[in-house]
């Protein structure tokens, strides 16, 4: 009965099928096949990535729980831990931007509170096609309102993120959502079903025919026929999720349960088998007891449904009544649908018949891992030799063009739709280099940021990945926080294409090299393959989320210029590099060349120096140099303060003016300090082997740059500000 076409529809190969038969000692029935197809999908099984992810560093003094659980756990002292992770919801967000993004937020929130942590911050990393195309605008508009609609109602602040634009995301936007939660160290819960005789409870929304095969869809290439493959799109219910949160935290706080697992991709199947496998037990489930939204659902549909806002709990029989009472308080049912049993098998019945009887270990742990063929990534289109690259007649015009390019332009249009202040912890709002959250009842604070320049990774995956980690840590250093942990969301094309696998292998190498240099463990993450639509792969986009700790929030630093007369100091060395820059892309229309080089050791020295200087109260403002280089960093530092002070900067050297202004050489930070402190700052830098140079001073109404006394740039702050501020909103204005 199980033929080729059936296997294809389940994204399983014949070899995989043979293996299944071998493992379970029989021909699977359709329902059992469905179970394997989702649990062995790329999305759940990490078939193509596992062999590479092994190379990531996962040890560290803060680590309580590394990869493998719903999210990583780090000890931040004071009896508290943080739980954080990032997830992708790319394909669903393309099919239905609002609901796709909304349910993406819902999913990562459950990953966090299923471990006993209250989500205290969300960040979103977004990639779209250029906004001049109305289709891209409607996807972006939908995604942003979806994130806002879900996160705001749930009551978690969306405190940061990033938005990039490139044609490679036209038909395949990226929506990655990061969430961080806070918990008491002794109240962290795991997805374990332990203790024979313990009851299995189902809580949350009823099960409908939602997103059936979402997991397998997220693991298949997109094409014109996706229309037909399209599952019943899931609609998020943030209100129900909020009730779930409060009820779950209450039963966990009172230690009424043994284990808990959210129902994400592969819903009931994943949660039941994983909990049993992790507990080294078996599980029996009666599907007739599962609350159902639609009539006539088959076991296949009930087990594979991806209806949102559902959780699975395991509790001792004696505690069930108490658990149910707490859920009732929050207007939620918590029916018992099964029991933990010895013997490591999942036995699932429906209308009195056994419809599934398989060893959980086979489903959860024995998914094959592939070391897929690797080819060197396609070499980047060569950039014209710098001497052939015309210098813009008017650098002021070029400057305004870079400021107005959607990727560099102000993102307030996005983040003011997000409640970024609820829970009254957000000390640094979106707009700073990193978000900063105070930890109530202490002087300590948590800093966090997401970063990735997909163009760099497209041009050189390994360097690009190193830079993503470096920039994220630099963003933290700019506010005064030390990085303590990393999560990552690796968005790539079709892993069956050797050059895509090549990009992946290189990026993972760069990622682990950088993490080792900074001494930060990777505690978890997510891999999203098959970001190919109609044969086109996206830029390899390894989004990096780094979390940092700050001992004294009183020392926090912001990017804005503080006072006229302050010295403007450039930390780090500038090279004549224009490859992969935003300038090359916007002004010359080239996505070409080699990305900026990065020396990780030097980067580390520069960041440690900056942190030391901030500790010593020498720094009044700090902003990292990223897209748009020095010119944009100067502008953003001017914009960030309400008084919009300009600056007068004089640079040395023989470098081309455009490289000087817009080059994106790494490891650089723009700092201001009191004039009298400049000497001490320089001395400290020298003693730490960090190149710094006082390049000018804050003041005036213009952003003015001279080179060896000759003016190369002079733009009124107001003019620059409007170019940067009005760019995104202008795309979304409805003309009347």
């Amino acid at each position: 009965m199980i033929d080729r076409s059936l296997l294809e529809r389940h994204n399983l190969t014949e070899d995989e099928y043979t293996l299944i038969v071998e493992l379970i000692g029989k021909e699977p029935n359709l329902t059992e096949l469905g179970i394997f197809s989702v649990m062995w999908s790329e999305h759940c099984g990490y078939k193509s990535s596992r062999v590479h992810l092994k190379r990531l560093p996962t040890e560290g003094r803060h680590v309580v729980q590394g990869p493998g659980e719903n999210a990583g756990v780090l000890d931040i002292g004071g009896g508290q831990v943080i739980v954080f992770k990032i997830e992708s919801h790319n394909h669903p967000s393309f099919i239905e931007p609002y609901q796709g993004a909304a349910t993406g937020v819902g999913g990562i929130l459950r990953d966090i509170f299923t471990m006993g942590a209250r989500p205290i911050a969300v960040m979103d990393s977004l990639r779209f096609g250029p906004p001049d195309d109305p289709r891209n605008r409607s996807v972006m508009g939908g995604v942003v309102s979806g994130i806002s609609g879900y996160g705001n109602a749930f009551g978690v602040p969306t405190v940061g993120g990033e938005v990039y634009f490139d044609p490679c995301y036209n038909l395949n936007p990226l929506v990655n959502v990061f969430c961080l939660g806070l918990a008491d160290k002794d109240k962290v819960f795991y997805a374990k079903a332990e203790g024979a005789g313990n009851k299995v409870l189902y809580v949350g929304a009823k099960t409908g025919r939602d997103g059936i095969h979402g997991a397998t869809m997220a693991s298949a290439e997109f094409g014109k026929d996706t229309e037909h493959k399209r599952p019943n799109v899931q609609v998020g219910d943030p209100f129900k999720e909020k009730l779930l949160l409060e009820a779950c935290l209450e039963v966990m706080d009172r230690r009424l349960i043994v284990g808990i697992q959210d129902m994400g991709a592969a819903g009931l199947t994943c949660s039941t088998t994983e909990m049993a496998a992790k507990g080294g037990m078996g599980i029996v489930v009666d599907l007739d007891k599962v609350p159902q939204r639609e009539a006539g659902m088959t076991p296949y549909e009930i087990l594979l449904s991806e209806s949102q806002e559902r959780m699975l709990l395991v509790a001792e029989p004696g505690k069930v009544a108490e658990v149910q009472a707490i859920f009732a308080k929050w207007d939620l049912d918590a029916p018992v649908i099964g029991e933990v049993v010895p013997g490591g098998r999942a036995r699932i019945t429906f209308k009195g018949q056994v419809v599934v009887d398989i060893p959980v270990d086979a489903v959860v742990n024995l998914c094959p891992a592939y070391d897929r063929p690797i080819a060197a990534p396609a070499p980047p289109p060569p950039a014209p030799a710098l001497k052939d690259l015309p210098l813009p007649a008017d650098l002021g015009e070029a400057f305004l063009a870079v400021l107005a390019s959607p990727t560099v332009a102000d993102k307030e249009w996005v983040f003011r739709q997000y409640d970024h202040m609820v829970q009254v912890n957000t000390a640094l709002l979106p707009g700073a280099d990193a978000a900063l959250l105070r930890i109530k009842g202490s002087k300590r604070a948590l800093a966090m940021t997401l970063d990735c320049n997909g163009l760099y990774t497209r041009l050189d995956p390994r360097t690009g990945a190193r830079i993503a980690v470096a920039e994220a840590c630099r963003n933290l250093a700019c506010v005064g926080a030390r990085p303590i942990g990393v999560t990552n969301c690796l968005n790539f094309g079709n892993p069956e294409k050797p050059e895509v696998m090549g990009q992946f292998e290189q990026a993972v190498t760069g990622l682990s090299e950088a993490c080792r240099t900074f001494g930060i463990p990777v505690t978890g993450g997510n891999v999203s393959f098959y970001n190919d639509t109609e044969g086109l792969s996206i830029h390899p986009t390894p989004v990096i989320g780094v979390v940092g700790l700050m001992e004294d929030i009183g020392r926090a630093v912001t990017p804005g210029f503080k006072a006229a007369g302050d010295a403007v100091v450039l930390v780090g060395e500038s090279f004549e590099e224009l490859g992969g820059t935003e300038y090359l892309k916007t002004v010359h229309g080239l996505e070409a060349g080699a990305p900026p080089a990065i020396d990780l050791e030097q980067e580390k020295r520069n960041q440690d120096f900056l942190l030391e200087a901030i500790e010593a109260r020498l720094v009044r403002s700090a902003h990292d140099l990223s897209e748009g280089g020095l010119a944009v960093a100067l502008a953003e530092s001017a914009f960030h303060d309400a008084r919009k002070r300009g600056c007068q900067v004089d640079l040395e050297g023989t470098m081309r003016a455009d490289a000087l202004l817009f080059g994106e050489s790494q490891s650089r930070v723009l700092v201001t300090c009191r004039r009298k402190d400049a000497g001490r700052l320089a001395k400290l830098a020298a003693s730490r082997g960090v190149p710094v140079r006082v390049i000018g001073r804050v003041g005036g109404a213009d952003l003015a740059v001279t080179r060896a006394g000759r003016e190369i740039l002079r733009v009124p702050v107001g003019t620059a500000y409007r170019a940067w501020k009005d760019s995104l909103p202008a795309y979304f204005k409805i003309r009347t």
């Binding site: 239905e96 409908g208 025919r209 399209r230 019943n232 799109v233 219910d237 209100f239 939204r293 207007d331």
Partner: protein
């Protein structure tokens, strides 16, 4: 002429708002209400449009702008005007 377009979730799609309203009505004692579905209604005034033109125009507008065909269905009627 004036037309009315009703937009609502497909039956198979979860309707959190309708469910929440139903639960509220129950706690308020309206036990007779066994189900609630919530949707949107649009009333459009069309100028210089014949019934025949409307029959092409309205469904097009509904599909492209008013409803999200992936999760919603729509129905429409002419309220007044020939």
């Amino acid at each position: 002429m004036r037309v009315r377009i009703l937009v609502s979730f497909k039956d198979s799609v979860l309707d959190p708002q309708g469910q929440t309203v139903k639960n509220a009505l129950h706690t308020m004692g309206y036990a007779a209400v066994t189900d609630v579905r919530q949707g949107k209604v649009f009333e459009l005034d069309l100028e210089g449009t014949t019934r025949k033109e409307a029959e092409a125009l309205v469904p097009e507008i509904a599909r492209r702008v008013l409803a999200n065909p992936i999760i919603e269905k729509f129905a429409w009627e002419i309220l007044k005007g020939q």
